[in-house]
């Protein structure tokens, strides 16, 4: 078992899948010679050649659309969007096409494409290199949206996404790329898409979150533990469709729920999590559902004071947890 960074887990999963199945190939901007702007595909061009690690023109709709076509043929394309913010030109291909191909053809066709994109803030990326875009897609049956928090989850879930027979959006937190390290088994394994994961057992309050929020919650939980507050942490891992059962169980466990996202608050996927709780756990709650999120402004500003103001962090999570515990 090796300790590796979040981004190394991405590269490892890609490499192993390409070795395992020659129908797997990568396409995107700068993924080839350069190895990606974040180096997620580093070394793959050298190992697998330019045909399987394909530098495309600067055209996200074509990257998605050509990938979908190849997937319908029977290939296993892994498309990279250079930043999640730049997935927007491909929305038509993703929502109108990828999501609906199986359904509209009555199961005759399917489009097993994986679309990877780095998302998230706290990297001085300003408005267009910091966004969380999952909510745009989290109302489209036919799609799955995976947002892993740890290197272990990255490897197992990215492999699962590539092998999945339906389209999967795979959002990687760009600040986690080098910040987050963890143990990753050398062997081949997959983790189930659609299943949330308890990252910490606790009895007093429940935090439900995903991505970098999981680490912020874990850090906050350490501090809270010092004061005898025991935090239960559920990592959604797949944010669409949600793991309702796990959410209900986690909410019922403590009766006090904090939902955390770094996306803008209104319309983010934690709204749906709150709705599931409101529908299913009303009489189990000891406090109103609480949400911690980015403010409802278009996106994270560039200047450090404003960026910090926008971005969630362990302190903000801790403070919200204390308020909830004291309720």
């Amino acid at each position: 078992m090796a300790v590796m960074s979040y981004i190394q887990a991405v590269t490892t999963a890609l490499r192993e899948e390409m070795q395992r199945d020659e129908k797997v190939f990568i396409l995107g901007e700068d993924v080839g010679k350069k190895g990606g702007v974040f180096k997620a595909t580093d070394g793959l061009y050298e190992e697998f050649g330019g045909d399987r690690v394909l530098d495309t023109p600067l055209s996200e709709s074509a990257i998605a659309g050509v990938g979908i076509g190849a997937a319908m043929y029977g290939m296993r394309p892994v498309a990279e969007m250079q930043f999640a913010d730049f997935i927007m030109p491909a929305v038509n291909q993703i929502i109108s096409e990828a999501a609906k191909i199986r359904y509209r053809s009555n199961n005759d066709w399917n489009a097993p494409i994986t679309i990877r994109a780095p998302y998230g803030g706290g990297v001085h990326g300003a408005l267009y290199h910091s966004q969380s875009v999952e909510a745009v897609f989290a109302n489209q049956p036919g799609l799955k949206i995976v947002m892993p928090s740890t290197p272990f989850d990255v490897k197992g879930l990215l492999k699962a996404a590539i092998r999945d027979n339906d389209p999967v959006l795979f959002f990687e937190h760009k600040r986690a790329y080098r910040l987050i390290k963890g143990e990753v088994p050398d062997e081949d394994y997959v983790l189930p898409i659609g299943k949330a994961d308890v990252k910490r057992e606790g009895d007093d309050i429940t935090v439900i979150t995903y991505g970098l929020g999981v680490h912020f919650a874990l850090q906050a939980a350490e501090k809270l533990a010092e004061d005898g507050i025991d935090t239960h942490i559920l990592d959604l891992r797949t944010v669409y469709p949600l793991d309702q059962e796990a959410i209900i169980e986690a909410a019922k466990k403590t009766g006090k729920v904090l939902l955390v996202t770094e996306d803008n608050k209104e319309g983010s996927i934690i709204g749906e999590v709150a709705a599931i709780i409101a529908e299913n756990c009303l009489f189990d709650l000891d406090a109103p559902v609480m949400r911690l999120a980015g403010p409802d402004v278009p996106a994270m500003p560039y200047s450090p004071p404003m960026e910090k103001f926008f971005m969630i962090n362990p302190d903000k999570v801790e403070k919200a947890c204390r308020d909830l515990a004291e309720f």
């Binding site: 291909q93 109108s96 359904y103 509209r104 036919g142």
Partner: protein, 330 residues
């Protein structure tokens, strides 16, 4: 006995008759659908009428056992040539469970049939173009020798996906043939308010590919252009953009009333060049088609259409709860 143009480009009598029959079949299915629509039996129809020559001419120039296609909603002629049956099409018009395109989930004109390598299509225009490029890319990666054939309207050639898809195909020299069926209107908007270039095929130069404009009313001309494009593709010379100039003989769809935006005279004039008529005349002139044979073909086609209509009308709908199936792999 006129000039046998078809022979010069290697088309046999059987082939041109088969082409004629396919064109006629497309036309007659389409006409029947209008009747069914006007009598309230099916909610919607969108037509191939006027474009059969382009569709059938193109399809016959392909290897229909091997090549892949991503047709657009008017391509009745293409899908018939690729193996879809009149029954399949009528099942789709009636939205019945057995419809191979979508099991009655999509409107008619939204083709798709895996066994015949017809990619499933949607309503937003031009999205199929990058798909066809993707299939061509896959074929190249897998060292297959098929081509991928995609069609769209001239209005649809102004979508971003046209540009992105063709540039991708051009850069990677992929075996994909794009045919724009320029019927001079996009619903109500005429060519000159829609397309800034003098014609569509000139756009090929933006993608470093071969481009040509042909008379879309002449199935032989279209056949020749597509045949040539296919050879280029198979020889590794890359993609082609073909513009087939046609005319839309019906309203845009059964929901449209075209009298508000085009003159009756214009349509009357176009009807004189109706491709089914002119091809039939050509075949008669060159002695391939006799009146007798023509009648026989008409009768056969009618029989096929009747049979298909009856079958489809009787066929059951999918159960209501079937709406819940096949969102994801089951």
């Amino acid at each position: 006995m006129g000039n046998k143009r078809h022979e010069k480009i290697g088309l046999s009598e059987e082939q041109v008759l088969e082409m004629y029959k396919t064109m006629l079949l497309a036309r007659k299915i389409d006409e029947r659908m209008w009747l069914l629509n006007r009598s309230g039996k099916i909610p919607f129809v969108i037509s191939c009428q006027g474009q059969e020559a382009a569709q059938v001419g193109a399809a016959f120039a392909l290897d229909r056992q091997k090549d892949w296609t991503a047709p657009y909603y008017r391509d009745l002629g293409v899908v018939l040539a690729f193996g879809m049956t009149p029954k399949d099409l009528m099942l789709s018009a009636f939205a019945k469970a057995e419809d191979p395109n979508s099991g009655g989930r999509q409107m008619p004109g939204h083709f798709g049939q895996k066994k015949n390598r017809i990619l499933t299509g949607s309503s937003p225009v031009t999205t199929q173009l990058p798909h066809a490029v993707g299939v061509a890319l896959a074929g190249k990666m897998e060292k297959q020798d098929f081509v991928s054939f995609v069609t769209l309207g001239e209005g649809s050639s102004n979508q971003g996906d046209f540009h992105e898809g063709l540039n991708f195909a051009g850069v990677h020299k992929l075996p994909v043939i794009t045919m724009v069926e320029n019927n001079k209107y996009a619903i109500s908007v005429p060519f000159d308010r829609q397309v800034a270039s003098e014609n569509i095929s000139i756009r090929a130069s933006s993608y470093g590919m071969h481009g040509i404009t042909v008379d879309g009313n002449d199935p032989i001309a279209v056949y020749e252009a597509v045949k040539d494009a296919r050879e280029r593709a198979i020889n590794g010379e890359g993609p082609s953009l073909i513009e087939a100039v046609t005319y839309r003989l019906t309203a845009h769809s059964s929901d449209d009333d075209d009298r508000t935006y085009r003159e009756k005279e214009e349509i009357e004039e176009a009807k004189k060049h109706d491709c089914v008529l002119t091809f039939s005349n050509y075949l008669k002139e060159v002695g391939v088609l006799t009146e007798e044979l023509d009648e026989k073909i008409h009768a056969e086609v009618k029989e096929l259409v009747n049979e298909a209509t009856e079958y489809a009308e009787e066929a059951p709908y999918a159960a209501p709860e079937h709406a819940l199936r096949f969102v994801y792999e089951e």
